[in-house]
């Protein structure tokens, strides 16, 4: 259920009466109906005449030396058309998002449970799977390194060593001390992105020796480049066509799927299709970094922060992937959206034989938020202050310095956000005599007992950066075409469900006054738009669409303006009509176009950023977003079951572009946060993934999801961002787990230092 009582724009839309149009209105998503009706095509639905089916053989061991691979039996099975191993990779054997440290197929070593070793194409999926199982692999099983603290001293698991990145951050005076000191050790588990559709794809060979990959890629050009390098082909011989994306929380596609698929299509000359099982999906894709955090906060007697010291250890799993980015975020935001004069952080991302970690919404920032907010609660307890009050005394604002030395130049209404959630009405306690109607922790027919239930209220403030950091070249290109009263947007930005296509339509409607706007599907024949992550497309792709649309607008109006001797600025377009400021001129877009086609292509590239230096200093971020969450939980203090009753959210959004979409993003984000807080943790004792299924890995259901109450959306425009808008998806994910933990702390008096919160951590033991 969602309650919005802080947005005026939501009511504006209703008041307007006509169909929503342009920026700031709830223009519905074009594919919503198809998705609801089940006709929206995903990669798993694709078909090609004569296609073969692929299966991937994965390592059952987290760490082993491969002594022999024999594919003879598998290749000889009737129906099998090709078997490929590391020996069949014509191009680069290694790949990776930032560092090429991951083999396409393991050759001499396997470094995590589920690592691809070989792939088979056959004329039936079961034949392919049986053949994959018939590949003989001899392993010399090695002791896995699964404790990230032991990775430093362990034998190198990889030629690149076990330390993927170390960031020391030094800001202020190391000898500064405060009167009040609190310490804490926090742990965050392994959240799986658990996309609702497992990985799938179709590879189709081309007559020119190239190949087309139909996959739910969230970064098609990067995937194409990576695939081309591995296939030993020029980039223009590989085309990635983006299919419907069934859920993406980060880098969606597992390259362990795309690469074998393409190799098999090239090898057999036939289309090859692959649909991962749920188990493979859990084994193959990247997870949220399990993290260990040690903190010491110093404050003065009034509760003002003096110094924050932290050690942050990210478990990267076997390969580097996006760990460097996650670490930069963790270290930079280690103290949270608070003003701290002295900050000293040591951050490490290390290699282990655990499941791979990578980019999952709010990476790095989410883990530290759980820890620094735990510290703020400790500080409040020690000072005898309200948790919200301690936070209020330290909030960051525009003009303050981050511990990285970067000045916060964008809006940072942190105090306003906190005030909004603090002052919001609390949800009522269950009333009525019929206790069976109460939804107690433990569920509808659970064991909950009102007498054992305690309610707790907790707060968290979170922050995360927008766009890639540390010198990433953030750029996107878009083309807008107008013809016959219809506009078309061509942009390779992938709509992962975040609503980019809807936004692109709104932008063009706004700028060109054309109602009918089509957004073409993405592929790599279009210019690159970069990954669908970190709120990029709202900013760079939205910005590129706006510029292109404005260029078309100028082309459209220039001749008119010239003819009537007025400047383009004095003309306006709405509902397909062009009018002048004085009403003298009035014509239609179609008439002005007179059968002509107008095209314009534009780029958006925000200002560059720096890499963090050897002291963790530098202007590493283009933009920042903030969020305050107040959680209300009910805890059965004997069983330790927790129900999140309500999450009140106040968020810094810059500008509301689409109220309904915005609310949906926040609801989705906090619900993912509730999963992290209470149940999601992919267990891998000794490196072996346990219960990789949707029964074994619990996700929040409708009963677990709380009421999400958006109490305030602060619309202070970020002047450097297109439309002044900020990305909205990640920061609720970052903040809500910490808020739930704070509320459970309040309800139980227990320290709650580990996410997800296990029942035993929420039990109040009777006095012995």
């Amino acid at each position: 259920m969602s309650i919005i009582d802080g947005t005026d724009a939501a009511t504006d839309t209703l008041a307007a009466g006509s169909a929503p149009h342009g920026i700031g209105t709830s223009v519905p998503s074009v594919d919503a109906l198809a998705k609801a009706q089940g006709t929206y095509p995903y990669a798993a639905d694709l078909w090609a005449e004569g296609l073969l089916w692929a299966a991937v053989l994965r390592s059952p061991h987290p760490h082993a030396r491969i002594t022999r691979i024999d594919t003879t039996d598998a290749a000889a099975m009737p129906g099998v058309r090709a078997v490929v191993t590391h020996e069949d990779v014509p191009g680069d054997a290694m790949h990776g998002r930032r560092v090429a440290d991951r083999p396409v197929f393991a050759s001499d070593m396997v470094r995590h449970h589920g690592e691809p070793i070989a792939a088979v194409a056959a004329d039936h999926p079961d034949t392919a799977r049986l053949a994959a199982a018939a590949i003989l692999v001899e392993y010399e099983v090695l002791e896995p390194v699964t404790d990230p603290e032991k990775a430093f001293a362990a034998e190198p698991l990889h030629p690149d060593g076990n330390l993927i990145r170390h960031i020391p951050l030094r800001f202020g005076d190391p000898d500064a001390t405060g009167e009040i000191v609190v310490e804490g050790l926090y742990r965050v588990g392994r959240q799986d992105p658990a996309p609702i559709g497992a990985e799938a794809g179709l590879a189709v060979p081309r007559p020119d020796g190239g190949v087309e990959l139909y996959v739910a890629s969230t970064d098609p050009h990067a995937d194409r480049d990576l695939a081309a390098a591995c296939f030993g082909l020029e980039a223009d011989r590989v085309k990635v066509v983006v299919t419907g994306v069934p859920g993406a929380m980060g880098d969606r596609e597992d390259s362990g799927v795309q690469l074998p698929l393409g190799l098999l299509a090239l090898r057999t000359g036939c289309p090859v299709k692959f649909v991962a099982t749920r188990e493979e999906s859990f084994l193959g894709h990247a997870h949220r970094h399990p993290t260990l955090l040690r903190y010491r906060h110093h404050a003065d007697a009034e509760g003002r922060l003096v110094k924050v010291e932290a050690q942050i250890l990210l478990d990267a799993g076997a390969y580097a992937d996006a760990s460097s980015d996650a670490l930069a975020a963790a270290v930079s935001f280690a103290a949270g959206p608070y003003v701290v004069p002295h900050v000293f952080v040591e951050g490490w991302a290390v290699r282990t034989n655990n499941p791979p970690s990578g980019h999952v919404r709010g990476e790095g920032a989410m883990q530290v938020c759980a820890a620094y907010e735990g510290q703020m609660d400790k500080l409040a307890a020690k000072l005898g202050l309200e948790p919200a009050e301690v936070r209020m005394r330290n909030v960051l604002a525009t003009g303050d310095l981050l511990p990285t030395g970067q000045t916060v130049t964008c809006p940072a209404p942190v105090g306003e956000l906190l005030k909004a959630v603090r002052d919001a009405d609390l949800p009522p306690l269950p009333d009525g005599d019929d206790e069976s109607q109460w939804l107690l922790p433990g569920g509808l027919s659970g064991a909950g007992e009102p007498g054992a239930v305690r309610r707790g209220v907790g707060y968290a403030l979170g922050m995360v950066h927008v766009l890639g950091a540390e010198g990433t070249d953030e750029v996107s290109t878009a083309t807008v075409r107008v013809h016959d009263g219809q506009a078309t947007v061509i942009c390779a930005a992938v709509d992962t469900g975040q609503g980019f296509t809807t936004l692109a339509r709104q932008i063009v409607q706004e700028v060109l006054g054309v109602e009918d706007v089509r957004v073409l599907p993405s592929d790599t024949d279009q210019p690159p738009a970069g990954p669908a992550a970190r709120g990029r497309h709202t900013w760079v792709s939205g910005g590129a669409v706006e510029r292109a649309a404005k260029m078309v607008r100028t082309q459209l109006l220039q001749p008119l303006a010239a003819k009537f001797g007025m400047s383009v600025e004095l003309l306006s377009i709405a509902d397909g009509k062009i009018t002048s400021y004085d009403g003298v001129l009035s014509t239609t877009v179609a008439e002005t176009l007179d059968g002509k086609e107008l095209w314009a292509t534009a780029q958006c590239r925000p200002h560059p950023t720096d890499r963090l230096d050897e002291n963790g200093q530098g202007d590493a971020f283009v933009g920042l977003t903030f969020c305050a969450v107040r959680a209300v939980v009910d805890v059965d203090i004997e069983l330790g079951s927790v129900r999140v009753v309500e999450l009140a959210v106040a968020q810094d959004v810059g500008r509301i572009l689409n109220p309904r979409q915005l609310a949906a993003r926040i609801e989705a984000g906090v619900t993912q946060g509730v999963g992290m807080a209470l149940m999601e943790d992919l267990r891998a004792p000794r490196g072996i993934v346990k219960r990789p299924s949707l029964t074994g890995y619990p996700l929040p259901t409708a009963l677990d999801a709380p009421d999400v109450r958006i109490v305030k959306l602060v619309e202070e425009r970020d002047v450097v961002a297109p439309f002044g808008a900020k990305a909205v998806s990640a920061v609720p994910v970052v903040t809500s787990p910490a808020a739930v933990a704070a509320a459970v702390r309040a309800a139980t008096g227990r320290p709650v230092t580990r996410l997800p919160i296990r029942p035993q951590a929420a039990v109040v033991k009777p006095p012995a």
């Binding site: 799977r129 064991a447 619990p698 259901t701």
Partner: protein
Amino acid sequence: MSTYARQAAENVTLPSSLDEAVAALAAMPSAVPVAGGTDLMAAVNAGLLRPAALVGLGRISEIRGWQYADGAALLGAGLTHARMGRPDFAALIPALATAARSAGPPQIRNAGTLGGNIASAAPTGDALPVLAALEASVILAGPDGDRELPISHLLTGMDPMRPGELLAFVRIPLLHAPQTFLKATGRTGPGRAIASVALVVDPARRQVRCSVGAVAPVPLRPLEAEQWVAGLIDWDGDRTLADEACTAFGEYVAAACIPDQPGVELPPAALQLRRTVAALSRRALGRALA
């Protein structure tokens, strides 16, 4: 053209009576019965099982409902959790209805059956502790006719199902007595039990029967604790117990189910499980006596 040799069951029989089903199984000894498929098909999809043939039980109407027989209810093995969760059934066997309502999400409860729950015999099978506390018996239909045995004999493997046999009915003595089922899952949405407790207060036999699910491969009956608490109850009076007695009962049950290991400290997880069982048993008794 595909050279693929089919691995999945080609042969699916859909008998419309128990006799036909038994005959079908006799004719194809390698065939596997399937009811709601919520356990079986998950195993097939995971590649753990490749049945050569399937005998679908969904069309056997005689096992999809229930009837009364000599003070007992005779429940068809094909009763779904959804059906058992409805009010008319709840009036009959409340604890089983509660268990059925908590047995997974709605989609699963619409398909999953009582018989499947028993035959799967998962430690977290929610019907199982209830059947154990109610001292139910099962009626198996086989090529040599029917036979009836206590549920505990089946679950413990003392008297397992024989090849060719089908679970046909479950006989449950109808008690005009309070009964409860409580399940701890650690979450609010549907989930498998961390521990569950079924408890019956049976004035006719002056017994309290309690069964603890999910903590061991089969439901556990803490017999000593049952007898101890039955001895405290004033069966001819108002049948109430002091809170302390309920608490002590909870501790007793929990210690019986998760016993101390001589010379070793119980690990935190075991202690937590013990606390959970104690709280559930105490609450179950308190509610049954309320």
